[in-house]
Amino acid sequence: MDFNLQEDSPEMTEFRKEVRAWMEENMKGSEHLRWSASWSTRENEEEYNFRRGLGEKLGKKGWLFPMFPEEYGGAGLTVDHQFVLETELARYSLNLTHIFYTLARIISPVLLHWGTEDQKREFLPPIARGEIVVWQVLTEPQSGSDVANCQTRAIRDGDDYIVTGQKVMVGHHLPPDVLWTLVCTDPDGKRHENLSWLHIPANLPGVTIQHMHLMMGIKNAVFFDGVRVPAKYLVGGENNGWKVAHTHLELEHGGDGRVGTDPVVDRVVEYCRNHEVGGKPLIDDPHVRDTIADMILEINTVNRMNRRIFWHRFVKEPHAYGGAQFRYYQRMVRLRNGERLQKIMGADALIPDHNVHEVLDFEYVIRSGPGQLHGGGTLDTDRLIFARRAGIGRATKEKAPDTV
């Protein structure tokens, strides 16, 4: 075994030097943004523009998806390079595919797996290079956990599909370029055999996007009113959408893995060193120390689970229940940490800190706590998947789909 994340082979030592210098250069003047949350629907233009710009620069070098072939927007590098990149970005609390709010981290590998050669050449490079924003558009008013109950209809008409229906709770506050969507192509077909996956340019006539104000920020309702989508934008074949969904959701359900860490503890400690009650810094309060100890233990576990998934993914030996277990635990930890922040800082923790250089965004951790439990599937879905994959109450364990 080898848990070393720091020491590299000679080749990687050189690469790390290169990446570190590149990051220093490109973070210059924006160091105050280094505490950014790992994904964000916060309406902070400065942060967003910075992250988007950085994403594009990384993309140009092929570093957003370093292991992808160059013709698809990657750099054709190895898992070791990916590791170096991730660990160097983690120094700034950033991680590769979350550089800015696009679902590229999921969509790119799924396209690589399911797309036709033409689709890969047309769609992948701009997505993988971070030039465009893609939204995952699955949830409908009457189908949330039960994604397969999709009611949005796509009817074939010549070279197009005509799409009609409504999705909810998708995207963020800035406009998308592409909607990555599940539709029903055979209303009379059998469940799971009646769905297809569509890549819908957001600027097509008949697409309307309306903001929804949710607790963790803006999400949207998307209306499709007889939208004509070229049939060549169907991904994975007609009525094969559920299989594509499997690949997609495995990544959404924790299967992607990361090596970054959650910087919240560092921020808490910084706050506790700088705040006194009755002339004593909070960091010396034994109750505060106990609470921080709980946070550290749980966050370390989350980080290790996430790293384990990362490893399994890139050696192509998917961990059967790892993703579901991680996602359930991580989200509960995040919820508990919100309460812990209030225990330590009280109402101070409920005030957003727009000066992000300071110990920002405790407010966001707290506010998003109960909402982030459901994004991409609820806690109950995680536990359901865990049970199947771990073989609880069933003779054969369900296998994880192939890693992509």
């Binding site: 009650v277 225990k343 009280g346 109402a347 957003p352 459901h374 609820t378 109950d380 359901l384």
Partner: protein, 373 residues
């Protein structure tokens, strides 16, 4: 043992429930919370008209002189809405501080006005965020002749928007804490509402504010004891308010399990959804049982200190957890600011540390039960 409400209490409950439905419907509150406009003067005047400010205050001072249980029943209904505004902070807590510490003249001057709603007196106690206790009072108070000068900032004052006056906790030259009545319009007083994941919380600063020395409520330097005793008597009604909130959350959550379908069945059929409801009910009932027993102890003149702190811990934690479990049941739709759950979620976070976090009150409970040698 008898766990029923008496006839009067049933009537109070009905009047309060009808009032809430008519005057503070959920659709209106979701809008007000979204706009962060939670001090509603008209609603407050109507509440004063019903005699719900100063319910515990003796009739001779313009109050209703009711029992704790009577008041608890009303506060529970107010919490269901949840009716915002300083009904508790002025009508119960400030009134109690004045009752316990005020001279007769101060009582005559302040209590009828508090009960009538003309005066909204808001306690501004700790300077810092999380903690509760005399060490959190940093605002200073210096005397020269007959004038006191206040200097300091209270980070988080609940219900300050509508205040006509503050009861400011301030530290004198000798280190003792005093409670000082300060007019809202006195030069040097600034109220700045906070933005964030909370409502009705403002920063209040006292910048060289001068008040007559006679503005001290209670004994100079003995203010912390006064505040602590008064808070203990007031807190159980805040708990009743949170119990009402939990009850409302519980009911609309169970209702939702009987409406929402997934995978061709009602979500209430899923054991995992049932499990969330079980947890929610335990948090609600834990807070409810402790609170009502404490209200009864107070009415009976029995030792209630441990129960008060237990109730506060259970109700603050319970309200917070009830929201979390309800969020688990509602999933996406429950995160929309137009959903009633969001009103509660924001308020539960706001009230979590108001007058001390649950952890603080747990420690106080143990101290009350097992005083250290």
């Amino acid at each position: 043992m008898d766990l029923r409400l008496n006839e009067d209490q049933e009537m109070f409950k009905k009047v309060a429930a009808d009032f809430v439905q008519a005057e503070a419907p959920t659709t209106m509150l979701t809008q007000q919370f979204l706009k962060k406009e939670t001090f509603l003067p008209d609603l407050y005047t109507k509440i004063a008209g019903l005699g719900w400010l100063g319910m515990l205050v003796p009739e001779q001072y313009g109050g209703a002189g009711l029992s704790y249980l009577d008041c608890g029943v009303v506060f529970e209904e107010l919490g269901r809405a949840p009716v915002p505004g300083p009904v508790f902070s002025s009508g119960v807590l400030a009134a109690q501080i004045v009752r316990d510490g005020g001279s007769d003249a101060q009582k005559q001057e302040l209590l009828p006005a508090i009960c009538g709603g003309e005066a909204i007196v808001i306690p501004a106690i700790g300077d810092h965020g999380a903690h509760w206790g005399p060490e959190t009072v940093a605002t200073t108070c210096s005397q020269s002749g007959d004038t006191l000068t206040l200097q300091g900032t209270k980070r988080h004052v609940y219900d300050a928007e509508g205040a006509t006056a503050f009861l400011c906790a301030a530290r004198g030259g000798d280190g003792g804490v005093s409670v000082v009545l300060v007019d809202r319009n006195a030069p040097g007083v600034t109220v700045t509402p906070h933005n964030g994941y909370m409502v009705s919380v403002s920063e209040v600063s006292f910048d060289g504010v001068e008040v007559p020395a006679a503005s001290v409520i209670g004994e100079t330097g003995a203010g912390w004891d006064l505040l602590d005793r008064a808070a203990e008597k007031a807190i159980p009604l805040l708990c009743a308010y949170k119990v009402g909130a939990c009850q409302e959350i519980y009911e609309f959550t169970v209702e939702y399990t009987n409406e929402r379908r997934a995978f061709g069945q009602l979500i209430g059929r899923f054991q995992r959804v049932q499990d969330h409801c079980v947890e929610l009910s335990i948090h609600m009932d834990r807070a409810r049982m402790a609170t009502y027993e404490t209200l009864w102890e107070l009415d009976e003149g029995l030792p209630a200190e441990a129960g008060i702190h237990e109730s506060k811990a259970a109700a603050s934690e319970g309200y917070h957890q009830a929201c979390s479990y309800s969020h688990m049941v509602h999933a996406g739709p429950g995160t929309d600011y137009l959903h009633p759950l969001m009103v509660h979620s924001v308020l539960a976070h706001t009230l979590y540390q108001y007058l001390g976090t649950p952890d603080y009150h747990k420690r106080r409970m143990v101290d009350a039960l097992y005083p250290s040698a």
